[in-house]
C-alpha cells in the first residue's frame, strides 16, 4: 500500500499569513496537520507593504501572540524598524508597527513550520475539493493525488482567479509572477457558495541607488524598542529609517492626462476596492484640490536595494508609471524594479460562514484570510489561527473556538464578517470595536491566556505567568486605592516640580495618578510599594486608574451586550414561523442564520421591533418546539 502518508486530521491549503497561523494552531492543539503551498519559497510572503501591525492591526497581532501564534515573534526576529503609533493618545488606541525584512520574515516562518511538531509542510497546487454528502473528505492536487482529512482550511488569498492589471495588460496570476488558482475557484463555485470580486493593488518598488534620499525627511525607529511579542526579550536586527516625501502638481497632471490608460479608470477593473486604501489615481481624482500627497519610502530588507514607494500605488502602464515616479522630488532618476499593479480576485461572501469560519454548506470546510473578503496580513493571520483552532476543535470534539466582541478584536472581526458580510476588502479599525478601551495591546495576553490554555493553544507556564501579572496588578491596585496623600512641604515641592497643583487637604493617591501631568511611576516616589512591582503589573495599575470611570462604563455596557448574546437561537428554529417579520428581514435571517439574538440584532437593517418579534417567537418555540 502507500508507503507515504496521505491522511491527516487537518489540511490547510495555502501558506500565507492565514495558512501558517492556521496550520500551527491546529498542530499546537495536537492535530496531525498538513500545510500545502503552491511555492515553498513564498511562505508567509509580504506581497505588499513590508510591515506588520499599525492601528487596530497591532492589537490583532498581540492577540495572535497571546494565543501562541507566531506573527509577533517572527516580526521581532525580522524587524528593521519599530514605531508605536498614537503615543499622544491613550493606551487603548496605541498600536505597534514594525517594518520588516521580507525575506527574513518568510525564511523565519518557514523554519518555524519545518520544526513544528504534528505539522507536515508540502508543495502542491490544489485542483479540487473532495466532498461527499455535504462534508469535506480531502483535496486533489493538480497531479491527481489525493490528501484526505475531515477538516480542510482554505487560505488562498488573492489566488482565486487572480488577475494582475498593469495598464491595459492583464495577466492571470495569484500575485505578480505567480500561478493563479482556477481549479479551486471552480470547485468552490460548484458548491454554490456566493462569490464576489475584489480589487487591491501595490505600489512600485524602486532601486535604492537611484533615489536622492536627501530630498526626503528621515523617520527613524523609536528610540526605545518595544518588542511585538510578549515573549521577545531582545531585538537583535539592525534598525533602518524610512523617508517621507510629497507628490506635487506635476505628478497630478501626469495622472490626469493619462487616466484613460489606467486599468482602474479605463474600465478594466470590476472588483470592489477599499475606500481606506485608494490607489494614487483615486486620490488625484477624488481630492482634486490637494496639491500633494505623502510618499513614504521603506526598505524591503536589510540586504535588499528594493524600496517600497508607499502612496504611489497605481494601475498605469509602465512608461506612465515612470513619469509619475520621476515627477516626485528626489525620484527624478528613480529606476523602477517592479512596477505597481492592481489585482482582482474572487472572494467568498463571509455570510456563507458560521462564527467558527466553517462553511454552512460543506461541513468541515473552513475559510480564512483574503478569501473571506478581508485585507491585510494581520487580519489574515488572526482568521487563520481562528479557523485552524476551530478545525482542530472539531477534530477533537471540542465546542467551537469563538471569542465574542467583548473579548478580542478577532471576535469583532469574525462577528462583523459572518453577520454583516463586507462590501469592500475588510480591514480592522479600532472604531469597529465598541469595547475598545478594554481591548488593548497591553492586555491581550491577560485577556486571552485562559481560553488559549483551555484549547491547548498555549502552555501552562504561559497561563501561570499571566496569573502572576494579574495577581500583582490587583494587589497593587488594592494598596494604591487605600492611600491618601497628606499635604506636606515635601509633597507640594514634588508636585510643583512636576507642574502639578499643590494640595491643602488629604487627597486619594488615585486622584493624583489621574492628573494628566502625573503618573503611577512618578508617584512611586511619594508612596513606594513595600516590594517592587513588576513592570507589566505597574503598567496595568497605571492604565486601570487613568481610565477608571471609562473602564467601568465599558464593563456595564458588556453586561447589557451579554444579555442578548445569551439568548441563543436554536438551530431548529424557523424564521418563517416568526409572525410579523418583514420579508426583507426574514430573508436576511434565513441567509445569515444568527446563532444568538445578539448576533441577530447586529444584522444590517435589523429593527428593535423585529428583535422583539424574534424574542417572543423564540420563547414560544422553546415552550412548544413543534410548530
Amino acid at each position: 500500500m502507500n508507503s507515504f502518508k496521505n491522511r491527516y486530521d487537518v489540511i490547510v491549503v495555502g501558506a500565507g499569513h492565514a495558512g501558517c497561523e492556521g496550520a500551527l494552531a491546529a498542530a499546537r492543539m495536537g492535530c496531525d496537520t498538513l500545510l500545502l503551498t503552491i511555492d515553498m519559497d513564498k511562505i508567509a510572503a509580504m506581497p505588499c507593504s513590508p510591515s506588520i501591525g499599525g492601528t487596530a492591526k497591532g492589537q490583532l497581532v498581540k492577540e495572535i501572540d497571546a494565543l501562541g501564534g507566531w506573527m509577533a515573534k517572527i516580526s521581532d526576529s525580522s524587524a528593521i524598524q519599530y514605531r508605536t503609533l498614537n503615543t499622544r493618545k491613550g493606551p487603548a488606541v496605541q498600536s505597534t508597527r514594525t517594518q520588516n525584512d521580507k525575506n527574513m520574515y518568510s525564511q523565519n516562518m518557514k523554519h518555524v513550520l519545518e520544526k513544528a511538531e504534528n505539522l507536515d509542510l508540502k508543495q502542491a497546487m490544489v485542483e479540487s475539493l473532495i466532498i461527499e454528502n455535504n462534508a469535506i473528505k480531502g483535496i486533489t492536487d493538480n497531479t491527481g493525488f489525493e490528501y484526505l482529512a475531515a477538516c480542510v482550511v482554505i487560505t488562498t488569498g488573492t489566488f482565486l482567479r487572480g488577475t494582475v492589471h498593469i495598464g491595459s495588460s492583464r495577466i492571470q496570476a495569484g500575485r505578480a509572477g505567480e500561478f493563479a488558482s482556477t481549479g479551486l475557484a471552480q470547485s468552490l463555485e460548484s458548491m454554490a457558495l456566493e462569490m464576489g470580486r475584489m480589487k487591491t493593488g501595490t505600489p512600485p518598488r524602486l532601486h535604492a541607488d537611484s533615489i536622492d534620499f536627501s530630498k526626503f525627511n528621515v523617520h527613524g525607529s523609536d528610540e526605545v524598542i518595544k518588542p511585538f511579542s510578549f515573549s521577545t526579550t531582545q531585538v537583535t536586527t539592525p534598525m533602518l529609517p524610512s523617508f517621507m516625501g510629497q507628490t506635487n502638481p506635476a505628478t497630478h497632471t501626469v495622472i490626469r492626462n493619462n487616466l484613460k490608460y489606467s486599468a482602474l479608470y479605463g474600465g478594466h477593473i470590476k472588483g470592489q476596492s477599499a475606500r481606506y486604501c485608494p490607489s494614487f489615481e483615486d486620490k488625484v481624482v477624488k481630492f482634486p484640490d490637494r496639491e500633494s500627497h505623502h510618499v513614504i519610502l521603506e526598505y524591503e530588507g536589510i540586504d535588499s536595494k528594493e524600496i517600497y514607494a508607499s502612496g504611489l500605488g497605481n494601475s498605469l502602464p509602465l512608461d506612465i508609471q515612470y513619469q509619475v515616479v520621476r515627477s516626485v522630488k528626489g525620484l527624478e532618476q528613480a529606476r523602477i524594479m517592479r512596477p505597481a499593479y492592481a489585482i482582482e480576485y474572487d472572494y467568498v461572501s463571509p455570510l456563507e460562514l458560521t462564527p467558527a469560519l466553517e462553511t454552512k454548506k460543506v461541513k468541515g470546510l473552513f475559510l480564512a484570510g483574503q478569501i473571506n473578503g478581508t485585507s491585510g496580513y494581520e487580519e489574515a493571520g488572526a482568521q487563520g489561527l481562528w479557523a485552524g483552532a476551530n478545525a482542530a476543535a472539531k477534530t477533537v470534539g471540542r465546542p467551537p473556538f469563538i471569542l465574542d466582541r467583548s473579548q478580542a478584536y478577532m471576535g469583532v472581526m469574525v462577528d462583523d464578517l459572518v453577520t454583516r458580510g463586507t462590501q469592500e476588502p475588510y480591514r480592522m479599525f479600532t472604531s469597529r470595536a465598541e469595547y475598545r478601551l478594554l481591548l488593548r495591546e497591553d492586555n491581550a495576553d491577560l485577556r486571552l491566556a485562559r481560553i488559549g490554555y483551555e484549547y491547548g493553544l498555549t502552555d501552562k507556564a504561559h497561563l501561570e505567568e499571566v496569573s502572576r501579572i494579574k495577581a500583582a496588578t490587583e494587589k497593587e491596585l488594592e494598596r494604591v486605592s487605600r492611600i491618601v496623600v497628606k499635604p506636606s512641604d515635601e509633597t507640594n515641592a514634588f508636585l510643583s516640580r512636576h507642574n502639578s497643583n499643590p494640595i491643602d487637604t488629604g487627597v486619594p493617591l488615585t486622584q493624583l495618578i489621574k492628573r494628566a501631568e502625573l503618573s503611577y511611576d512618578l508617584l512611586k516616589q511619594i508612596s513606594p510599594a513595600p516590594e517592587p512591582v513588576q513592570a507589566r503589573a505597574a503598567r496595568q495599575v497605571e492604565i486601570e486608574i487613568k481610565y477608571e470611570g471609562y473602564i467601568r462604563r465599558q464593563y456595564n455596557e458588556i453586561k447589557k451586550f451579554e444579555d442578548l448574546e445569551r439568548i441563543k437561537i436554536p438551530p431548529e428554529f424557523s424564521f418563517d414561523a416568526a409572525h410579523g417579520l418583514s420579508n426583507e428581514i426574514r430573508e436576511k435571517l434565513n441567509r445569515i442564520g444568527p446563532a444568538s439574538l445578539g448576533q441577530a440584532s447586529r444584522i444590517d437593517g435589523m429593527t428593535p421591533a423585529a428583535i422583539s418579534v424574534l424574542m417572543v417567537a423564540i420563547s414560544a418555540f422553546r415552550q412548544n418546539p413543534s410548530p
Binding site: S431, P608, V613
Partner: protein, 458 residues
C-alpha cells in the same frame, strides 16, 4: 402572538357608545359566533363580514339579546394591530360591555394586557417607538392642545429633531475616529471654536427639549392652581364661578372648606387643575389646623397661586408673606366687588405693587372672565410651544438627560485636551441615548417600560 385578545377600548363610563376591540387570528370567527343580523328571538342570521364594511346587528347570548351593535371587521394588515381586528360598537354601559367581553372570553379570547394592542401594532411593524408612545399620549390626552402636541409627535417631528442631532454628533465622532484610526493620514484632531459652537448648540437643543418636556407636563397633567386666602373671603365661590358649577359646599360659616377640593377644566384648550384650600389664619380648632397644613402643602405643589382678598379687611401682610411662595406666579383677586364702592379697595403692599389685582364678584360673575384670561396669560406667557412643537415624554426626558450628561462630560474633556478615545466613548454613549428615543437602538427593556404605560384597550 397568535392568540386572540379582546378588551374595552373606550374609557369607562363616558360617551354614548362603548367599543370592544378584538385582535388576532380568531377575531372574525369569535365575533361571528356572538353576532346575529336579527335579534335573538328571531330567526338567527349568520353575518357576512366584509373587511372595512360596517355591519348592523345584535350580540346574542343564547336566546337573550345583549345589545344592538355596529360591527367593523378589519382584515390584517389593514388594521390597528396589522392583525385581523373586529371592533364592536355597543351602547356604553359597563354591564353591557362586560357581558359582551365575557362571551368572547368564554369562546377563547384572552383579556388584553395593558397596551397590548399598541404593542402588537409596534411588533408587527405598523408603528415605530415614538409613534407608539404618541398613541399612549393621545389616549391620555385630557385637552385639545395636548392632543395636538401628541399628534405632532405622531408625525415624527421628535424623531426628526433627534436624528438631526445624531447626525451632527456622528459627524463629530467620525473626526475623532479618523484621528485615532488614521493618525498618519487624517492628522491630529483639533478642537475648533466652530466645533464648540456646534456642540453647544446640540447641548442647548437637548436642554430645550428637556425644558419642553417640563412645560408640556403642564399640558398633559394640567396646570395646578391653588386658591387661597383668609377664611370666608369667597374662595370656594370663585372656584365654582371659574368652573361654572357647584363643587365646594358654600356656607356663610367661616372655615367650611376643610379638605382641599380639586377639579379640572380647560381654558382655551389649556388644562387646569384647580384646588380650593382651607382659609389660612390663626386658629385653635384642630380640624382647621390640619386643613391649613394641607392648604400649605397644596400651595407648595401648585404651579400658580390665586390669593383672594376682600374689601374692607386689611391686607394680611404677615400671613401672606409666610405662605406665598417666592418662586411661583401669584394672582390677587379682590372678591365681593358687588358690595362696595370702588374707592374703598385694599392696598397691596409694596412687594406686590407691580401686580394689579383682578376685581371680581363671585356673586354676580363680574370679572370672572378677566380672571380666566389673567390665569391663562400668567401661565402660558412662559411656555413657548408653537403648533409644531416637539414634546418629549418622561422616557424621552430621561434619555435626553443622560445624553446631556455625556455632552457635558465630553465638552469638559475637550476643553482639557482629553484623549480622543475617551471623548469618543462619550459621544457614542450620547448618540446611543438619543437613539433610544427613536427606538433605533432600543434594547427590549425600554420597550417594556413604554408598554407598561398603556391602559387596557389600546
Amino acid at each position: 402572538m397568535t392568540d386572540t385578545i379582546a378588551a374595552i377600548a373606550t374609557p369607562f363610563g363616558s360617551g354614548g357608545i362603548g367599543v370592544i376591540r378584538i385582535s388576532g387570528q380568531q377575531s372574525f370567527d369569535l365575533a361571528a359566533k356572538i353576532f346575529s343580523k336579527t335579534p335573538a328571538d328571531g330567526e338567527k342570521k349568520a353575518p357576512q363580514f366584509i373587511s372595512h364594511r360596517v355591519i348592523h346587528g345584535f350580540i346574542c347570548d343564547g336566546d337573550t339579546t345583549v345589545d344592538e351593535v355596529l360591527v367593523i371587521p378589519m382584515k390584517g394588515p389593514r388594521s390597528y394591530t396589522a392583525e385581523d381586528v373586529v371592533e364592536i360598537q355597543a351602547h356604553s354601559g359597563t354591564i353591557v360591555l362586560r357581558r359582551i367581553l365575557d362571551l368572547l372570553f368564554k369562546l377563547g379570547a384572552r383579556p388584553a394586557d395593558p397596551g397590548e394592542f399598541t404593542r402588537r401594532a409596534f411588533l408587527n411593524g405598523r408603528i415605530d417607538l415614538t409613534q407608539a408612545e404618541a398613541v399612549a399620549d393621545i389616549i391620555n390626552a385630557r385637552s385639545d392642545s395636548s392632543l395636538k402636541f401628541a399628534a405632532s409627535q405622531n408625525l415624527g417631528l421628535l424623531r426628526q429633531s433627534i436624528q438631526d442631532m445624531i447626525s451632527v454628533l456622528t459627524r463629530f465622532l467620525a473626526r475623532l475616529e479618523a484621528a485615532i484610526d488614521f493618525p498618519d493620514d487624517a492628522g491630529a484632531f483639533s478642537y475648533t471654536s466652530q466645533d464648540k459652537t456646534t456642540l453647544q448648540s446640540v447641548a442647548d437643543k437637548i436642554e430645550g427639549l428637556i425644558q419642553q418636556h417640563k412645560d408640556a407636563c403642564f399640558l398633559k397633567t394640567g396646570i395646578r392652581l391653588a386658591i387661597c386666602g383668609e377664611p370666608n373671603v369667597g374662595k370656594s365661590s370663585i372656584m365654582n364661578r371659574i368652573l361654572e358649577k357647584e363643587k365646594s359646599i358654600i356656607t356663610a360659616i367661616p372655615g367650611t372648606t376643610r379638605d382641599p377640593i380639586e377639579d379640572s377644566l380647560t381654558i382655551e384648550g389649556i388644562p387646569f387643575v384647580i384646588v380650593d384650600t382651607a382659609g389660612i389664619h390663626q386658629t385653635d380648632d384642630l380640624v382647621e389646623i390640619i386643613g391649613i397644613e394641607k392648604a400649605r402643602d397644596q400651595i407648595e405643589a401648585a404651579d400658580i397661586v390665586l390669593y383672594v382678598i376682600e374689601p374692607g379687611r386689611p391686607f394680611p401682610e404677615k400671613s401672606v408673606s409666610k405662605i406665598l411662595p417666592e418662586d411661583k406666579p401669584v394672582i390677587f383677586a379682590i372678591n365681593k366687588m358687588d358690595l362696595i364702592d370702588e374707592l374703598d379697595l385694599p392696598q397691596l403692599p409694596q412687594k406686590y405693587a407691580d401686580i394689579s389685582p383682578v376685581e371680581v364678584s363671585a356673586l354676580t360673575g363680574k370679572g370672572i372672565n378677566t380672571l380666566r384670561t389673567r390665569l391663562l396669560e400668567t401661565c402660558i406667557g412662559n411656555l413657548e410651544i408653537g403648533d409644531d412643537a416637539v414634546i418629549p415624554n418622561l422616557r424621552h426626558k430621561n434619555a435626553l438627560a443622560q445624553a446631556l450628561g455625556h455632552m457635558t462630560t465630553m465638552m469638559d474633556g475637550l476643553e482639557k485636551g482629553q484623549e480622543e478615545e475617551t471623548l469618543a466613548l462619550d459621544v457614542k454613549n450620547c448618540i446611543d441615548h438619543l437613539g433610544t428615543i427613536t427606538g433605533d437602538t432600543a434594547p427590549p427593556d425600554i420597550l417594556d417600560a413604554v408598554f407598561n404605560n398603556f391602559c387596557i384597550g389600546k
